[in-house]
């Protein structure tokens, strides 16, 4: 049985660019709201207005998770705020069934002067718990936050991470049918983040979830459907997460590598490029296909021995892969103008945009001769979805159980 908990039809919202005008329109809107009329001819934009969200429709069932992705200012948060009932749509309709909770502002209503314990009660009330409910859950909250020793300390003496912990511990007690999540998973230290993630995964199984995030690995892990937004419009709605990410990345202007050169100057780069096996320059590499990286360098004659390292970062600046001559037990000693070439057999990076960094270091003193950051950008193509940045291939066998 499909249990559709969220239905959104033709949802639109306009915003105004200028503050003065926005306040003035606000006054008008309050007026027409009080008269009970529909707000200002809703199809027309007034001067300096634009569609922050335009014509969005989707449906989410219980147990499903819809991820909203898109560049900054695409209208994801506006959409989320409409779903949360904070602001009214200008067009369209939202229908939701069951208890709705939003994990958006952690620790809302915290007063810095009050103790952790007092703030748990305040925050709980804001989230809609009764005093009795909080009494019952208090132990669990303290346990979850791992802040037992600090419950009688004023919250202003907490670190920001502790604040968020306590806020999350309270919010995690909700048992929603509809859950709205906005980038909250990026909080706390690594250990706590994992804990949060697992809690949310638990809630997700019984709820319809809408999830805004810029973290593609997270989305790949939890989303069952993705809606890609740009300039308020839906440009793709699919359950093919890989395709959605590709579309998301295509919304950015092709990332020109921001080349940046540093080091002690004893090595200077001439050029660097990717080549296919016949030596043609390429900027796209198929998943697991062989290719070469080729690089012209000038090396100071005073250098006796040097090593070269390449590393690869994802669009999120996450370091995902490295190639190091040192690890391969290779060092070079030819100076002057040289061409360094590294053949890569099967680079199994998930499809997407990447940038490459090049480092040359003295093999004896370990001094960095050249750090050439973002020396080139390239794309890995393929039809697979990688939940992790790198997929290694393995030997799969099946044996009958004994």
């Amino acid at each position: 049985m499909t249990d559709s908990l969220i239905q959104v039809e033709g949802l639109s919202k306009k915003f105004c660019r200028s503050l003065k005008r926005s306040l003035w329109y606000g006054l008008h809107d309050i007026g027409s709201e009080l008269r009970g009329g529909q707000r200002n001819n809703t199809n027309e934009l007034r001067a300096e207005e634009f569609w922050s969200v335009k014509d969005i429709s989707f449906e989410v069932n219980r147990g499903d998770c819809l991820a909203l992705i898109g560049p900054n200012g695409a209208g994801k948060s506006t959409l989320l705020r409409m779903l949360n009932g904070l602001i009214k749509p200008d067009q369209g309709q939202i229908t939701m069934r069951g208890r709705i909770n939003a994990l958006i502002a952690l620790g809302a209503g915290f007063n810095p002067v009050l103790t952790g314990k007092e703030n748990v009660y305040v925050n709980g009330s804001v989230l809609g718990f009764t005093k009795k409910e909080i009494d019952e859950k208090y132990e669990t909250i303290v346990e979850f936050s791992e802040l037992r020793d600090f419950m009688d300390t004023p919250v202003r003496n907490y670190s920001s991470g502790m604040n968020v912990r306590l806020g999350f511990a309270v919010a995690a007690q909700m048992e929603p049918d509809v859950l709205l999540l906005d980038e909250v998973l990026a909080v706390g230290d690594a250990g706590f983040r994992a804990k949060c993630f697992n809690t949310i995964m638990d809630i997700m199984q019984h709820a319809a979830v809408i999830f805004v995030s810029h973290s593609m690995p997270q989305i790949a892990r939890v989303a069952s459907k993705v809606l890609v937004m740009e300039h308020g419009r839906c440009i793709l709605q699919t359950s093919d997460v890989g395709k959605a990410m590709e579309t998301y990345y295509s919304t950015f202007t092709q990332c020109e590598a921001q080349q940046q050169i540093s080091g002690n100057g004893k090595s200077t780069p001439r050029w660097i490029r990717l080549e296919d096996l016949s030596g043609n320059q390429i900027n796209k590499v198929a998943f697991a296909a062989p290719f070469n990286v080729s690089c012209g360098l000038a090396i100071d004659p005073g250098i006796k021995e040097y090593r070269v390292q390449l590393d690869i970062r994802s669009r999120e600046q996450q370091l995902v892969l490295q190639f190091s001559s040192e690890m391969d037990g290779v060092a070079f000693n030819k100076t002057g103008d040289v061409v360094v070439k590294v053949g890569i057999n099967a680079m199994r990076l998930s499809p997407g945009q990447y940038v490459m960094n090049l480092f040359v270091a003295d093999a004896q003193t370990h001094e960095v001769l050249l750090a050439f950051r973002e020396c080139l950008s390239f794309e890995v193509t393929g039809n697979i979805v990688g939940y992790a940045p790198v997929s290694q291939s393995g030997d799969w066998t099946l044996e009958p159980a004994r």
Binding site: F15, S22, L23, G26, L27, D29, I30, S32, E33, L34, R35, G36, G37, Q38, R39, T42, S77, R81, M82, L83, N84, G85, L86, I87, K88, P89, D90, Q91, G92, Q93, I94, T95, M96, R97, G98, R99, I100, A102, I104, A105, A108, G109, N111, V113, L114, E118, N119, Y121, V122, S125, V126, L127, G128, T130, K131, D177
Partner: protein, 283 residues
């Protein structure tokens, strides 16, 4: 069987179905009792935990007004007419009662402004904020009144049976203040001018109300005093407190009836305006 509640959001104004809106308003009010209480306790605790003088701040302002006027009158700079009550009693009751009204008036805008962050991010019954403000006003009024009654006893005034009706007088001060405050909040949230202009204006109104000096007996000013809807509210509360029969009882009841009606209107306006205000707050 568990029947899930359905939430719908559309561009239509809920005014188109006033009855449903009223039902929803009172349901939200009931739902927000806990929250309002919790927020009020939070603010009161925080306020007193950070101040040594604590409670004293609640009546320092009316006290300083009292002293100013006693000085002005005593030195003959300004000559105030005859009052039935001893003049110090007249001013101190007047200023404290007036300050209760002003507190109630400031509460909605102040509380809403202070809760901006929460409002922009979380959906909770907005009535909780108003209730929290109301509770705080009542708490502070309670403290002021305890001090006031002690002062009256010291000054030799024994309140009569009218004292039993006096809480009604206070409620009506709070009611009138809240209505004015609620009415200006939606615009005040958009334009900060309102937050600055209203206290100035009310300062002016105070001098058209028998707060620090008695009603003029004749002339157009006397008429102005008599028309001023604040006059019966202040006078009746003071009469009940000090054991005089209230002179303006009918007008008092009339003003309260109108205020109750306006309260419903102002409250609906507040609710309806909220999403539009939140649109203009940063998230």
């Amino acid at each position: 069987m568990y029947k899930p509640s359905v939430t719908t959001y559309t561009p239509h104004s809920s005014v188109s179905n006033p009855l449903a809106m009223l039902v929803q308003m009172f349901r939200d009010l009931a739902r927000s009792r806990d929250l309002g209480w919790r927020l009020a306790v939070r603010d009161i605790q925080a306020q007193y935990r950070q101040a040594y003088l604590g409670v004293i701040w609640a009546f320092i302002a009316p006290l300083s007004t009292t002293i100013t006027w006693l000085f002005l009158n005593g030195t003959g700079i300004i000559s105030v007419g005859e009052t039935e009550l001893p003049y110090p009693v007249y001013i101190i009751t007047g200023t404290i009662l007036w300050s209760i009204m002003i507190d109630a008036m400031n509460a909605p805008l102040q509380q809403t402004n202070a809760a901006r962050d929460m409002l922009a991010k979380l959906n909770f019954p907005r009535e909780g904020i108003l209730l929290s403000g109301l509770y705080q006003v009542l708490f502070n009024s309670g403290i002021k009144l305890i001090i006031l009654i002690c002062a009256l006893l010291v000054l030799g005034i024994t309140p009569g049976w009218g004292l039993l009706l006096f809480p009604l007088g206070i409620l009506s001060l709070v009611l009138v203040g809240t209505v004015i405050g609620l009415l200006i909040t939606p615009i005040g949230m958009l334009y900060t001018d309102i937050g600055r202009a209203v206290p100035l204006f009310m300062n002016f109104v105070m001098y058209l109300t028998p707060v620090v000096f008695p009603m003029p007996k004749e002339g157009w000013v006397a008429t102005l005093f008599q028309i001023n809807p604040m006059t019966p509210i202040i006078l009746t509360a003071r009469d009940w407190l000090t054991g005089f029969p209230p002179d303006y009882l009918m007008y008092f009841l009339g003003v309260n009836a109108v205020a109750l009606f306006l309260l419903i209107l102002a409250w609906s306006a507040y609710r309806l305006a909220m999403p539009i205000l939140i649109e203009r707050m940063s998230s």
